[in-house]
């Protein structure tokens, strides 16, 4: 179970990587494993403004459909179009090529509400019980 140190995590199993005010968002290794083989990904439109907690997209596996939520408020600047034809990339590389959305943050202070890698590790340990 990979939980990279340099990322922040939400309770809905999204990860955030910040660089120059831009947040890259995806779902965690734990999430992709729980979902199973991902067959379809619905992403937002570039330019959409999404508030923290709102639905940014949908991830569909063979057995379930899961909403993906916005961990930090912002405007979508880029979406990973590769996922349209290769949704399985999220299973293969959830923190790398399986990134979903990049958004320009409006309220960077919201990052403080997210968990560190250590806190997330503890969180999923309790989820498993």
């Amino acid at each position: 179970m990979q939980v990279p140190e340099d990322l922040r995590y939400s309770e809905d199993h999204e990860w955030v990587k910040v660089a120059d005010g831009v947040a890259t968002i995806g779902i965690t290794d734990y999430a992709q494993e729980e979902l199973g083989d991902i067959v379809f990904v619905e992403l937002p439109q570039v330019g959409a403004t999404l508030a923290q907690g709102a639905t940014l997209g949908v991830v569909e596996s063979v057995k379930a459909v899961s909403d993906v939520y916005v961990p930090v408020t912002g405007t979508v600047v880029e979406v990973n179009r590769h996922l349209a034809d290769h949704p399985e990339t999220i299973n293969e590389s959830p923190y790398g090529d399986g990134w979903m959305v990049r958004l320009s943050m409006t309220t960077p202070s919201e990052l403080a509400r997210l968990m560190t890698a250590e806190q997330y590790q503890a969180f999923i340990a309790t989820e498993r019980d």
Binding site: F40, K63, V65
Partner: protein, 444 residues
């Protein structure tokens, strides 16, 4: 799967297994005031002879089609070969359960896959679902699908020449959606839809036409598609007489985005109004927004071909309130009958039958030209509007002579007071035509 009820011994064994004293005890948590105490008031059972007599009396109250009923208007008289019922009635098909378990449902699933393939070919569309209840609900589902695909639109445009009961069903379905305006556009002098302006279409998720429409007239679907697309919306085509699809340029070839139809003409008896068969076909790119069941072809773990229900994530048992529809069924046995019918006639046979319908209806219209005139100039398939003086009185007189001379249109279109909607299919031979002409002309 057996359908025998439990024996008393089996009930006792089950109660013992779960540790319950009695069946009544299982309902003990339901408040006493809500528990039914009276026994069901059913009459005593009667023997087989008695049942036959009672049902015969009921059936005797109906007038059955005897070749002298020239009614279409959404339900069409066609000949159904005996083989259709014989094959569909086989126990393996008639008692098969919903194919959620593919490993025990390959027969049902393969038949449904063949059905989907046939409907896709018939409509010229890329994908067809496993069927819906009937043409009207299929039309309503098509409108809902268009709204999902164009969520920023606040209106749907319906042609007034689309069957009025279909329009009522669409309105009913849209009531639940809210904030979607129904804009009705008129039909022109020729009997086809007067296409709305781009300004109107730019507000709408879809334009919905019937073709052939309620007057039997064939619409210019290509022009309608161009108009709808120019407005950024979709074109939905509704065909109440599915046999027409075998002869006319397919909806797919005309640029239709969602093609729906009533499949009753394809091997289903009229049966006093049902069950029907909703045909639903669309573009491959809209696949994830498609309502209804979908059967897919795949391979199993050993590499053998098999069939399964697929893309189930569109359906409510997975996506719940965000599913593409609340339907969780299809009209399996009806779809099977249609598939057998289409297989028996074949691609060429369906075309020959359709042509016979076309010629018969046109010949009849010519015969009736002495009595009245064709109200609309648009080309038609097997149904047309006859304008004749004193239409209602003549219709009633004809009925008295045992002939149902079509449908008096004034009930649905008050402005078409002196008009009868007449349908003639392969079941109406020359003698039947003679009887109609005589009955309407008052010379029978």
């Amino acid at each position: 799967m057996r359908f025998t009820p439990h024996t008393a011994a089996e009930v006792q064994a089950m109660l013992g297994a779960i540790g319950a004293p009695s069946v009544a005890a299982l309902f003990a948590h339901v408040p006493a005031a809500l528990r039914a105490t009276a026994a069901l008031r059913l009459p005593a059972g009667i023997d087989e002879c008695g049942v036959r007599e009672e049902l015969a009396a009921l059936a005797g109250a109906n007038r059955s089609g005897d070749g002298l009923v020239f009614l279409g208007a959404g339900a069409y008289p066609h000949f159904v070969p005996a083989a259709v019922e014989q094959l569909a009635g086989r126990a393996e098909f008639a008692t098969a359960y919903t194919p959620y378990q593919p490993e025990v449902s390959q027969g049902t699933l393969q038949a449904t896959f063949e059905f989907q393939s046939a409907i896709a070919a018939l409509t010229g569309m890329e994908v067809a679902n496993a069927s819906m209840y009937d043409g009207a609900s299929a039309a309503a589902e098509a409108v809902l699908m268009a709204q999902r695909l164009r969520p920023d639109r606040t209106a749907v445009v319906l042609s007034r020449a689309l069957h009025p009961q279909y329009r009522q069903v669409i309105a009913t379905y849209l009531e639940g959606v809210g904030d979607v305006e129904i804009v009705t556009v008129a039909y022109g002098e020729g009997g086809t839809t007067a296409l709305p302006s781009t300004a109107v279409l730019e507000r709408a998720s879809c334009l919905v036409l019937g073709s052939p429409n309620v007057f039997g007239a064939i619409e210019d679907l290509a022009a309608a598609a161009a108009a709808a697309h120019a407005g950024g919306g979709l074109l939905v085509n509704v065909t109440t007489e599915a046999l027409a699809l075998a002869l006319l340029r397919t909806p797919g070839a005309c640029g239709v985005d969602i093609a729906v139809a009533e499949g009753q003409s394809l091997g289903l008896p009229l049966s006093y109004g049902g069950p029907g068969l909703g045909l639903f076909a669309s573009r491959q790119s809209f696949l994830r927004s498609l309502p209804g069941r979908l059967v897919g072809e795949t391979v199993d773990a050993s590499g053998r071909r098999g069939f399964v229900l697929t893309l189930a994530t569109r359906e409510q048992h997975i996506r719940r309130e965000r599913a593409t529809s609340n339907i969780c069924t299809n009209h399996g046995l009806c779809a099977l009958q249609a598939t057998i019918y289409m297989a028996l006639l074949g691609r060429r046979g369906l075309g020959v039958l359709a042509e016979r319908n076309l010629r018969g209806a046109h010949a009849l219209a010519e015969r009736l030209a002495g009595l009245g005139r064709l109200r609309f100039a648009a080309p038609y398939f097997n149904e047309f509007v006859l304008q004749v003086p004193d239409a209602r009185r003549r219709w009633e007189a004809a009925l008295g002579r045992g002939v149902v001379a079509g449908l008096p249109l004034a009930d649905w279109y008050p402005e078409l007071e002196d008009c009868l909607l007449v349908c003639a299919t392969e079941v109406h031979d020359t003698a039947a035509h003679d009887r109609l002409v005589a009955a309407l002309g008052g010379t029978a």
